[in-house]
Symmetry: C2
Subunit: 323 residues, 2 copies
């Protein structure tokens, strides 16, 4: 994604200038470590583009972009504890490299650093508005994460509930990113609403696509084993759609298989077959397409600019990804 | 503290009106549980008094007071995990009653709820200023907590470092509370500086007093065994002062005793004797007195009002507490 380079340079340079204190080392070292990991910086790029879309210089939105990236990285530190994930971006996660207490506290502090960044916004910016978008965004992320954890122990989750969960867990921060950038640029309510819609749709499309790629991607390009989500008993949109449509005895057998996860290759193959048979893959593909289309439509309401072109290109790039 | 009743009623009623959503239950139930525990509400009371000191109606500062109380309660949920504390206010702590992931996430969400409260402030309030005081306050709390954890594994902590740690961990939020209330009332920089000083001094005095009461309080009134901190090998101001002043061989024996905590009754008695012998108790008493005096002096710079009287009464009450 060469066209994103100029944005990413601004963000990396901003992160480099963060100047987190040397001490207390147990508080700031894990934050430096987390920020130095390989990352796509999609969310802060969207903040800058959001500002550009309003006809303003994206550089005005750098503090908001850094706030979003810090917030996202804070959620990764805490999520890795909650999910008991030992690694992140190819390196040990913070609670493994340090310990539980250090991971909780350095995550909390990173959350604070995110809010501190907002104070670097120009005095002319509508601070209260930007702060509100940010805070409501992270509130939805928390709710999405809570639902995600609740779903793990529930056997009656519907596809609709799942979409609501992703809208919070993934969509809300993408949506807040675009809106915060636009708010820095002085956008009105109508523009903010369009970007809210674009962001949420993008988040939903992206997650549904992730679920899809698990079964349809070329494993060599995708870098993961095909059917990995099924093997882990994950309740993806494909699984939930199939559970809603299949026969009672099939449902029973699937639920038993999930309870005894990880699933055998035989079971994974059988469930993949059911996904095709009940049209879960086709439905997900349609859903994904319609969310990407919604996002594109919302972006079209803005005046032409290189930022609009870049956002459209980004959506196309994501839509066509095979991994 | 009957004179604080009107403030506490405002806060309890505000907390009752919080209207946290019913779902996701795993996110909000632990927050309701935490807020319903018996608590002194000192920090939000200070927010209201801070506003009153500027000649304004303290009720204007209720959202800021609730923000501070929510923030404080969030720190309790996470601190209990970090300190491996099974109970809080006589009830199981959140990570024990629920589980680790639920405690981390509901704590994070409570932090978000704190920031959300700020949005209920009147549009005439200097939102950016109040937000700044709040965010810098919690930033210092995080640094204080990190230092506190680092001190546990260090053998060369000085009394001065300890005071710096308390200034952050306990003083910063008390200081931010008074200042936020005053900022809602439109206070200028000079008033904010006086309240910053008053708050930090109060926090330091209170913690030094806590350390002192551990060895000089009447155990029946204090509700804890005398010398409990010594028994647990805690590096209180008394311990650190004594370590700085005692002979090398005594120092060695104390460090060995701490390493093998909990300490025997005999060792506790011996260390208590050293506290007296090296004047650590007398020094701490003087320090406490001088911090309480600093706080009072700062409060005296304000115009006379019932709020000034109440804050002075509160300082006297704290100074004279025996438990």
């Amino acid at each position: 994604m060469k066209f994103l380079e100029p944005y990413i340079q601004l963000i990396e340079s901003g992160l480099g200038d963060l100047d987190l204190p040397a001490k207390p080392a147990t508080l700031y070292e894990p934050q430096r470590y987390t920020l130095s990991g390989k990352a796509k910086r999609i969310r802060p790029v969207l903040v800058l583009i959001g500002c550009g879309l309003t006809g303003n210089d994206p550089r005005k939105a750098i503090p908001a972009a850094l706030a979003v990236e810090l917030l996202h990285n804070f959620t990764l530190i805490h999520d890795d504890i909650m999910d008991d994930a030992d690694s992140r971006r190819g390196r040990p996660s913070v609670h493994v490299k340090w310990d539980l207490a250090t991971a909780i506290l350095s995550g909390d502090s990173m959350f604070v650093q995110a809010y501190r960044q907002l104070h670097r916004l120009d005095p002319s910016a509508d601070f209260r508005k930007i702060h509100h978008l940010f805070t409501e965004g992270i509130n939805q992320v928390c709710e999405g994460q809570a639902l995600d954890m609740e779903f793990e122990t529930r056997s009656d989750v519907t596809a609709d509930e799942y979409l609501g969960m992703i809208a919070g867990k993934t969509g809300a921060l993408i949506s807040a990113s675009l809106q915060m950038g636009a708010a820095v640029g002085g956008a009105g309510e109508e523009q903010l609403n369009q970007l809210s819609l674009a962001g949420e749709s993008l988040g939903l499309a992206f997650q549904i696509q992730d679920d899809l790629l698990d079964v349809i991607a070329n494993p060599e390009k995708f870098g993961k084993k095909q059917g990995g989500d099924i093997c882990e008993g994950k309740k993806t949109i494909l699984m939930l759609t199939t559970l809603e449509r299949c026969k009672a005895d099939e449902r029973q057998r699937i639920m038993a298989a999930i309870a005894g996860k990880p699933l055998s290759d035989e079971l994974v193959e059988w469930i993949t077959l059911l996904y095709h048979q009940y049209g879960a893959i086709e439905s997900a593909r349609e859903m994904m397409g319609s969310y990407y289309a919604k996002a594109e439509k919302a972006v079209k309401t803005f005046d032409d600019s290189t930022y609009k072109e870049d956002l459209t290109k980004l959506i196309h790039f994501l839509k066509n990804r095979e991994y």
